[in-house]
């Protein structure tokens, strides 16, 4: 096995978070950081963090993890089982399944992060406008209702068939249905903060609207947006896999987990691994993100927390 440059860093990271010496010193009544650390003591949360860290490291260090070119076709060794040359076997075109799974993590994370970033940014901007300016509110929210009424998969298929499948198209197709959800969240926070006395005090102190929004109102949306962001992240990864599986996503040569499962479908009885390996990793990643999202929600929004 070749040298793995990033792994010590990753291991160190995980060890630090799970380090018992740190946990013992955390007092229950202390601040956010120690609450975070204490919630990591629960095994499911720890496992979720471990899985997600591994997926991120694998995605970053893909070329260093004994992979070969994920798109290289080798007709001589089609549909092979596990072997020392091909750890997880090969697919119908003789491509290395292991390399494709590893590079697939890159695609999933890029889609997840990209869609999250885009939908949060757009949603924040539109949500603040809708929440603060009453005149804009009626129009914006009706448009958002309209977007929410369109089935997201249908929208994605339409977009991809119009412009051809590319990463950007898929990102846009995933982002658009998520934006209204973020807008609604931001708008509700801004609406409730509007009447807070400290906002009214700032108005009577002559604070201009942009400053008022940025300084006094938007910071209140950060915590709910972080929580919403984790759900968008998981939803985006899943939607990309679904689109690719349906053939309406990324071009088939790109190693995405959805593409792999789509192609493996034909050979499921012969080589179930073609679907199982990407499928298991996809499921584990989504589960981890959702578990961590729940933890963040409990920490950032005590009202929503389940009673323990």
């Amino acid at each position: 096995m070749p040298a793995i440059v990033n792994q010590p860093h990753a291991d160190g990271n995980v060890q630090m978070l799970g380090d018992p010496s740190l946990i013992v010193h955390a007092t229950p009544a202390a601040g956010f950081t120690s609450q975070l650390i204490s919630s990591l003591r629960s095994p499911p949360v720890f496992v979720a963090l471990l899985i997600l860290s591994v997926v991120i490291v694998v995605a970053l260090a893909a070329p260093l993890l004994g992979t070969i070119d994920p798109v290289a076709i080798d007709p001589g060794s089609r549909l092979r089982g596990l072997s020392p040359e091909h750890w997880l076997g090969t697919d119908a075109f003789g491509r290395d399944t292991y390399s494709r799974v590893v590079y697939g993590a890159r695609v999933s994370l890029i889609v997840g992060a990209g869609a999250t970033l885009m939908s949060i940014t757009l949603g924040l901007l539109i949500g603040v406008l809708a929440g603060y300016f009453r005149a804009a509110d009626a129009i914006i929210m009706r448009v958002m209702d309209g977007i929410m009424a369109i089935p997201s998969i249908l929208l994605a298929i339409a977009l991809v068939s119009l412009t051809g499948g590319s990463l950007l198209t898929v990102l846009v197709a995933i982002t658009i249905p998520e934006v209204p959800r973020v807008v609604r969240l931001v708008r509700s926070v801004i609406l409730s903060v509007r009447t807070e006395p400290y906002v009214e005090a700032a108005i009577s102190l002559g604070t201009r609207v942009p400053t008022l929004l940025v300084r006094h109102m938007v910071p209140n949306t950060v915590a709910p947006l972080i929580v919403q962001g984790t759900y968008v992240f998981a939803a985006a990864i899943l939607t990309e896999a679904t689109l690719s599986f349906l053939g309406a996503g990324l071009p088939p040569e790109i190693p995405s987990w959805g593409n792999m499962m789509s192609e493996g479908r034909m050979y499921f009885q012969l080589l179930p691994g073609l679907i199982l390996y990407p499928g298991i990793i996809l499921a584990a990643t989504l589960l981890s993100v959702n578990v961590l999202g729940d933890v963040l929600r409990d920490l950032l929004d005590p009202k929503m927390a389940r009673k323990s």
Binding site: E196, P197, Y198, A201, A202, L205, G206, R208, T211
Partner: protein, 540 residues
Amino acid sequence: MKIDNLAVQVVGDPTGRQVLENISFEISSGETLCVVGESGSGKSVTSLAIMGLLPAGSLKPSRGRILVDGEDILAASPARLRELRATRMAMIFQEPMTALNPVETVGEQIDEVLRIHSKLSKTARRQKVLAMLESVHMPDVERIYNSYPHQLSGGQRQRVVISIALILEPRILIADEPTTALDVTTQKQILLLIRELQKKHNTAVLFITHDFGVVAEIADRIVVMNRGHLVEVGTREDILARPREAYTRMLVSSVPSLIPQKREAPVTDIVLEVQSLSKNYSRKRLFGSGGSVAAAQNVNLTLRKGEIVGIVGESGSGKSTVARCIVRLQDPTSGAVLVKGEDIARVSGPQLRPKRQRVQIVFQDPYRSLNPRMRVGDSIIEGLVNFGTKREAALKKARELLGLVGLSDDSMQRYPHQFSGGQRQRICIARALALDPDILVADEAVSALDVSVQAQVLKLLGEIRDRTGIAVLFITHDLRVAAQICDTILVMQHGSIVEAGPAAEVLTSPRREYTRTLIDAAPGRGWDFQNFGPLISGAA
């Protein structure tokens, strides 16, 4: 009932910090015992401990006994406790709306108590519930029986809660601030009702309150608490007239007197003139307009330099609407607001912004009035920086202002959560003064504060007025506070001003019936707290 050496501590706190320590007192049947203390004194924890309602998992009694007719509540089993709660002791809470189930009729809710704790037939139960509603002086009891809580007024809801508490004729009634959320006139009726029912059933009443007026009105004996400790127990005369402890003395003398001090009405320039101000709220309907509600009608007032004008009235009288229109947090429907002769009621946007400097506001809730994410210094200089002052100069001014309101320089670097309610209100006053406004609007600015802190903030406002000559528009529901600080008093009812005049005149010889009702309803008005004795009517 007897409480013996009770202590309550926080569960799982290794330091063993006690929330309550060495609480001992007794209460006998037919007696009213008032527990007074400022926020955080442990009065509510005491009442919850007696009811066996301490939140499990966060507070637990660590020592002592609570004996009701010789039976120790702390040792009782949950089933026994449930039985005791209905038959021996009952509790009424501050907010009657949240104490009642909104989706059940009040009749059913009272009936539930009988259903669980008695073997009466359905018709007998109904008879008993109706009789109970009758005895709390409800009109048209058949209709009330079938009403839902939201169909009743605040006072009626509290009567329903009292019915639920008293229908099984418990030996002890615990009332935790039962009248704090009510208007003074309603408060008076509820206090009379509790007294009447107490006489009838010979119930012991444990009355928890922060309001010394109420205490002077109803207490037989008084328990004074502070920070989880018992300060003093004594008869009403002992505590109010001859307090032994310095803390009690301080607390009692902080209660503002209802009799205004004689003040010369200032003959200075008019800084604010409100002319026939009206504000209508329109009801929104899906189709067409649903009519409108007048929150303020034809309000006229003038405010002179260095003058403190009070607007008093019960909730919903429109006093806050007037304040918010003057600060232009709301747009008046009609009328004029002249600040030094300039009308600010009709301007908006960029024309309004520079004029905002002239009028500043201090709000009621000190915990929500400061941005929790900003350092105090940055909050204070916000207005100055908005109007072009250099940061250094603004910070220098902020330090001076903090000195003026009695806070130290190092407060600048701290965040609001590091301050108490009274300190935060001082910071809010400093922030409002930063722009050197002509007018300061104080919207219930001392209503959320404990009585001793309230006295300090009132004193501060008076001093600032004397030093800077600022004019203050003081909105309050508390006649005592108004008497303490205001030169002129306006009384509002249903959106209109019903009486206006110098404070001494309005409060001692009111011309209007409504004003007289308000003054009569003010609890403890026969007692002069600052002089530790009954009020001598001749002194007014």
